[in-house]
Symmetry: C2
């Protein structure tokens, strides 16, 4: 039997999806609106206890049509598993579309129209679920949380736990801009350990109760978790949830690279 | 507002999707099982009057996760529009997975396990809708229909119209194997005209009543129809429903080509 995410047939999600904003709200100079919005990952059936706020979808997410399925997704899946949360979560991003360019993300952190639609999603998830923990990945997600917390009906009344943690791909982006990758990883994992200590016990009746195992100074395979089949649309192959990258932007010019995603099945996931 | 296909949340479709067969039924030597099953396109809400049986999903369908969205899909969409059918249809393929190699399709035309699952879908569509017309695209789909008609509960009791038409990409495959493309196209369109004559009037209360306009000897832009937004999963960009190809298999070796799909947004669909 194959589990799958039934998607957005239920209200209020069906209406939210129907009225998603386009490039009148997300300027195409700063967002890859041409790849379409990617809305969420996880439960939309009222059973979520943890809400994760991510940043923006990337290449893997443009194909799988769920957020946080690439490297960042597998790392945060492992973080949730350490708290015993293996099913009862919903993830929503700060941005519905992939950020394009270095400054797009920060430039629109306070756009009201973007916040309005995002807050409608956060309110919907809060109204539909008994959320005890909110985790924001990175500073843009923290900004999104604070805006919601201070202005939105379900934000101002939310009394559960909140933790802002370093974004799961910080070690990779830090390394790309010259910082020592091992040091960046150790810094992130120390931050995540502090978050685990703060949040352990905050989730009532965890899906898979487990003794808390903190991170070391580097990620091990045991620190990652595979994304459940129930999180992706029906029919998506298992390698789309695996630990190996399978989608990449390609192209000889910036315009071609922006317009092209190469989907390549990892070699050890192909039929024998 | 953006329409979307809510997918497989309703029964009996949810259970059908959950128990879809894998490579124990579809041998991976003859089917690209590694890209996952693609189930359908169109209405699953009881409003279909026409059932289309296609052949197998190709590269575009592997990404959009709905069948008949590439060239064949836009041609059959135009055929249905000529009958006034612009929303009330459901499409199911002969094969859940993409056929690999020249003989895979014919070799498994009579496999019982493949037929059993396909018949369960055809029965589900028949039970859930008031179907008046069935159209089979190509001879494999005709074989699938005949097997269902002669053995399945809803097949043996079906009394509506049935028409087997030449597969919509016959002109292209004929040209690739040396036949004159214009002749092959004219042959297909004459066959489709005969089908239009036979089926005109068979659909009660068409969605968009229209005088019957037959095909000429070649397809014109007016003979194609754009796939409706309501047929694709939420968030998929409009160019995935456009008339230009956007997905292709790539790779220097057969194994690489089988494992790789390049998704490239058509140039005139990119942000200015």
């Amino acid at each position: 039997m194959h589990d799958f995410d039934p998607g957005y047939g239920r209200e209020p999600y069906a209406s939210l999806v129907r009225r998603h904003p386009g490039d009148e709200t997300y300027p195409s100079g700063d967002f890859r609106t041409e790849w379409g919005p990617v809305f969420h990952r996880g439960r939309l059936d009222g059973t979520a206890k943890v809400l994760v706020i991510g940043q923006d979808p990337a290449a893997h997410e443009a194909i799988a049509r769920r957020i946080l399925v690439g490297t960042a997704g597998r790392r945060i899946q492992g973080f949730l598993a350490k708290l015993g949360v293996t099913a009862g979560y919903t993830m929503v991003n700060t941005y519905l579309y992939s950020v394009y360019g270095q400054h797009g993300g920060n430039a629109h952190a306070h756009d009201q129209a973007i916040a309005d639609y995002r807050n409608a999603w956060l309110d919907a998830v809060m109204a539909d679920n008994d959320i005890h923990v909110v985790v924001a990945l990175g500073s843009l997600a923290d900004t999104a949380y604070q805006a919601w917390k201070s202005t939105s009906p379900h934000g101002t009344s939310y009394t559960g736990a909140y933790r802002h943690i370093i974004h799961p791909t910080y070690p990779d982006s830090a390394a790309a801009s010259g910082t020592d990758r091992a040091q960046a990883m150790a810094k992130m994992l120390a931050d995540w350990n502090a978050a685990l200590d703060a949040l352990a016990g905050a989730v009532p009746n965890p899906d898979t109760p487990t003794p808390l195992v903190r991170y070391g100074s580097d990620l091990t395979p045991a620190d990652l978790a595979v994304i459940p089949e129930a999180d992706l649309p029906p029919g998506l192959p298992a390698w789309m949830r695996s630990d190996e990258p399978w989608a990449s932007r390609q192209g000889a010019t910036p315009a071609e690279k922006r317009a092209t995603i190469l989907v390549r099945i990892p070699e050890d996931e192909r039929p024998a």
